[in-house]
Point group: C2
DNA sequence: CTGTATCCACCAGGATACTG
DNA sequence: CAGTATCCTGGTGGATACAG
């Protein structure tokens, strides 16, 4: 939202930044927009919230995560875990065993994000009928 | 999050659904996941939240929106407005005048989403330092 | 078991030109 | 003024094969 300083977007294309100046945007300092974008990009991507939601139940191993997040590919699981770890939302603990065992767990920060996400989920649930009605009533396309 | 019933994703590819069954996912009934996905897709896309944020200040005309959301293309403004309208988050009022005048305004539903988004923004702001630190400390890639 | 590497399909979204 | 139509880019993310 608000002036993607440099188009972070979801990472989709984004070659040039906006040609205009900052642009205040409804009371939100453009300064913060980069961070907000980043958080949104994390929340908005396909698997992060799912992984966080799944980890809410306690630490899990790679394979268990794969099982609990049906449909995720190995590639995306790895990428998602890496990004979440880089953001400090989850921790990775590797045990030097044979066979190798790695456990992922939520950090307090990650739990915080999950709470916000949960409120979003709650809102979505509270209003989904309303939204569906509108969508259904929207005639074409 | 949680079992994209049919891969809605951000609309990106998504040809097949997950081959597995429902998959409960941390207490969130798979039933609701479709709606949550939809809301997330709206929140997560590039311009919706910005438009909503801008409209928080009161009804605006097409051109004004374009000005207040620096960097948005006509195409994306139109698409975003259409989607928001279809979801019942904003209203469109056309006045039969010359030259034509069209005003977009938030609905109560839209304001509700904006509040949730605002809390997300607040969280992002409260923790951006923490996140940045983690990102900086993340050695490679 | 826990990943990494490669290939590629697909679609969001920018640029541009045109219309009522 | 308020859009629509068309073309194009490039990043996301699935599939698959391979590695420590």
């Amino acid at each position: 939202m608000c002036v993607p300083e440099r188009n972070v977007c979801h990472g989709r294309h984004s070659r040039i930044g906006p040609r205009d100046g900052p642009g205040p945007c409804a009371g939100i300092p453009a300064e913060q927009m980069a961070f907000v974008r980043q958080v949104l990009d994390r929340v908005g991507d396909k698997w992060s919230l799912l992984v966080i939601a799944v980890l809410e139940g306690g630490p899990l191993r790679y394979t268990d995560l794969q099982r609990q997040a049906p449909g995720i590919s190995q590639r995306m699981l790895t990428l998602t875990l890496r990004r979440l770890r880089q953001d400090g939302l989850i921790t990775r603990t590797a045990y030097a065993e044979v066979p190798p065992r790695v456990e992922y767990a939520l950090t307090p920060l990650g739990r915080g994000l999950h709470e916000i996400a949960a409120s979003l989920v709650r809102w979505a649930f509270d209003h989904h009928e309303e939204i569906r009605e509108h969508r259904a009533h929207a005639t074409a396309q």
